[in-house]
């Protein structure tokens, strides 16, 4: 009953409000990421609703939006880590499951236990586990590749240190090295710039630019609005729905930002509120 109500409301909203922001699903193998009509809900409360976009290849793409806008949820839903209520995702023209080896993921730093008894090198080596495959052990050549990746992020000398003995910036670099060693074509990064020192921030920017030079695509959740035009070519403004997306020069306008961050009570909030009131009345 309730499910029906919410899906009807969803349809009504989609037809009345969604404009050009819901393109068809791209099966172009050159399109790194195409998302269509993606909705994710926790306890029937939508976290992201009707999200759709096609991303250009070889670009640095920032995802920006207020807290609770569903940015991390979007990345996780793309990688099938959480169930979707609806929607489809294409990675290089195929399903995520099919092309998962071409996607590298950098989770939020707080998502893991840094007291875990492993060294920085161990963590980076994890990026190669997919290549190594089930049951096969890690070999010397894998460790050598992991060490190379640590060198790229500038902390090769800390390879054997237990991860709790690393600073926040060094932990973030370790995560980046782990993604780099995967040698993916599309990178999904969840707030790599969160709480890092200035030197690490510069190092991460260098790495992103290097990725772009090698024609990789990176989707990066970002918090600091001031650095968006400097770091990214393309931006997705997200607040439960895609407020706007496109090249930074066109999309990153104060009007769009106002829509994303300002006016906390969006139409969707009002509808959700109305639904809740009605549920309680029943």
């Amino acid at each position: 009953m309730n499910k029906q109500t919410s899906s009807q409301l969803g349809d009504a909203l989609a037809s009345s409000e969604s404009t050009s922001s819901a393109p068809g699903l791209s099966t172009d193998p050159l399109c790194p990421l195409s998302v269509y009509d993606l909705t994710v809900a926790y306890h029937r409360k939508p976290v992201i609703w009707d999200v759709g976009f096609d991303l250009p290849a070889g670009q640095l793409i920032g995802v920006v939006g207020p807290n609770g806008a569903g940015k991390s949820t979007l990345l996780k839903a793309i990688m099938d880590l959480i169930p979707r209520a609806s929607g489809r995702v294409r990675v290089f023209g195929d399903t995520y499951a099919h092309n998962r080896k071409r996607v590298g993921y950098v989770p939020q730093r707080e998502s893991v236990d840094w007291q875990f008894p492993v060294s920085a090198l161990d963590v980076v080596t994890m990026g190669l586990y997919d290549d190594i495959g089930w049951f096969f052990p890690v070999r010397k050549k894998h460790r050598a590749r992991a060490l190379e990746a640590l060198d790229r992020v500038g902390i090769a000398d800390l390879a054997n240190r237990q991860i709790s003995q690393l600073s926040g910036g060094q932990q973030q670099r370790t995560f980046l090295a782990r993604a780099l060693v995967q040698d993916a074509d599309l990178y999904l990064m969840d707030e790599p710039f969160a709480a890092v020192d200035a030197a690490t921030e510069r190092a991460i920017v260098e790495i992103l630019r290097d990725l772009k030079k090698r024609e990789k695509t990176a989707v990066v959740i970002h918090h600091d609005l001031q650095t968006v035009p400097e770091y990214f070519d393309h931006v997705i403004l997200l607040n439960m729905r895609v407020v706007s997306h496109g090249p930074v020069s066109e999309t990153f306008t104060s009007e769009n930002l106002q829509k994303t961050y300002g006016g906390r009570l969006t139409l969707l909030d009002e509808v959700t509120e109305a639904m809740r009131r009605r549920e309680q009345a029943l």
Partner: protein
């Protein structure tokens, strides 16, 4: 003659108890590492309790104590526990601890009720289920490949091999899914699959162990050796290896002390199972105390060394500042007042500095007089050339830091001293040179005092 025979029988029985104890502890500890690291120790607890209705149902259905139905019953319920816990957490929107509490207490209670029913029909003692009966488990016999051995040893042997194979073969899969489940899943090592595989093996191990150590004490075997080895190392492979040794040691110690310790107090020997848990607890205590990295004692000693070094630094820096102000050397009492040091530590610090030839006592060749550090006379101590070098570097670090804090981070002037006072002890030559460069090689600090140069 009769005595000799009894003695021999007793010996063999004894050996089997220890073997069963070791297998039980080792098989549990192997999996326990991952329960501890995944912060799931309580889930291990829950599963070991919740398998009870599975065991009881198997009794009721098969009307026997044969192991196979028991295994299936327990494994099914064990996995159901993990599923229920997850389900209640999601539906009830409560944290994992609360949902576990709901699941395992209800299942455990259900199991007890069923066991009481079953014990009317089958020869089964509910006490044994809770506390285990390793002594009687070691008496039973079964013949296999022409050798006679207790069935518990056989079953636990197989379980230990299975668990060891699981941990060795899936080492990297367990590592990644425990450390970063999301990443593991994106790489095709489904964290959920690993979770349920672990739960299946935990259930099997719990059932295999419960006859020997009981469903309560098996929790100690799952958690305590792993927690102890977590204190001793920061490498996963070593943690697993050490936990196996600790588990085996607690089994051996457990049986030994079960025989020996009660006799000290004039009692009969006590149950091995409980003494195994006590021994494991004792080993954990030792690891927590003496562990090389996280041990309480080692941390304490390291802290003492550090504060002693800082006290030595403070003494030479204070003497340097006195020289600078030309106020004459301070007495020992003045030093104690200024540095908040107890007289004993101050004495030790002064003795150390004299031995290193960094300070000298008036009227004596430096470092040559024993026991002259009385401080009865004012103006006792002065810096030697070497001490002055060290002091100058400290004061230079301090004042450069003050300058840096004011210029670079715009900290208020009255708040810079404490920070600089702390930083100066951890600033080496390269860092000092960089500070000097960043602050444009100042001549004076924010208070207007001269910043000494690196070399005199």
């Amino acid at each position: 003659m009769i005595y000799a025979q009894i003695d021999l029988n007793w010996q063999q029985h004894d050996t089997w108890i220890v073997v069963i104890g070791i297998l039980c502890a080792v098989s549990s500890a192997l999996l326990g590492n991952f329960l501890v690291l995944r912060r799931m120790s309580m889930l291990g607890d829950a599963v070991t309790h919740a398998v009870l209705p599975g065991i009881a149902a198997a009794f009721l259905i098969s009307h026997s104590r044969s192991s196979l139905p028991m295994f299936f019953g327990a494994v099914i319920v064990g996995v159901l526990t993990a599923l229920f816990t997850e389900w209640i957490r999601r539906v009830g929107r409560v944290d994992e601890g609360a949902s576990m509490g709901v699941v395992f207490t209800s299942l455990f209670a259900l199991g007890l009720v069923m066991l009481v029913q079953a014990s009317d029909h089958v020869d089964l003692d509910p006490d044994c289920v809770l506390y285990g009966a390793i002594e009687s488990a070691a008496i039973d016999e079964v013949e296999i490949f022409g050798r006679v051995l207790p069935p518990a040893a056989l079953i636990l042997g197989v379980v230990t091999i299975v668990n060891a194979l699981f941990v060795v073969l899936c080492f990297k899969e367990l590592k990644i899914s425990s450390f970063d489940p999301a990443l593991a899943t994106t790489m095709g090592f489904s964290a959920r699959l690993m979770h349920y595989l672990l739960m299946v093996l935990v259930s099997i191990t719990a059932v295999a162990s419960f006859e020997s150590v009981g469903s309560v004490l098996v929790v100690a075997m799952f958690v305590v050796p792993a927690a102890a080895s977590y204190m001793l190392t920061d490498r996963l492979a070593w943690m697993i290896v050490l936990s196996v040794f600790i588990a085996a040691a607690s089994a051996i110690l457990g049986h030994g002390s079960a025989i020996v310790v009660p006799r000290w107090f004039g009692f009969e020997s006590t149950t091995t199972a409980s003494m195994m848990a006590v021994s494991a607890g004792g080993l954990f205590f030792l690891a927590a105390l003496f562990g090389p990295k996280h041990g309480v004692l080692v941390k304490w000693v390291r802290r003492q060394f550090l504060s002693f070094r800082i006290l030595c630094d403070d003494i030479v820096a204070l003497l340097y500042r006195c020289e600078e102000r030309e106020t004459g050397s301070p007495s020992k009492a003045e030093l104690a007042d200024n540095l908040f040091a107890s007289s004993w530590t101050l004495w030790a610090a002064l003795a150390t500095l004299r031995r290193r030839g960094e300070i000298a006592v008036d009227g004596a060749v430096s470092g040559a007089v024993d026991g002259a550090v009385d401080g009865a006379v004012s103006g006792d101590f002065h810096l030697t050339g070497r001490g002055r070098d060290r002091a100058r570097q400290l004061v230079r670090s301090h004042r450069l830091w003050e300058q840096y804090l004011v210029v670079e981070t715009s900290t208020e002037t009255d708040r810079i001293h404490d920070k600089a006072e702390r930083f100066e002890h951890f600033t080496d030559r390269p860092l000092r040179d960089r500070l000097d460069r960043v602050t444009d090689a100042p001549d004076t600090d924010p208070h207007g005092r001269p910043i000494p140069s690196e070399k005199s």
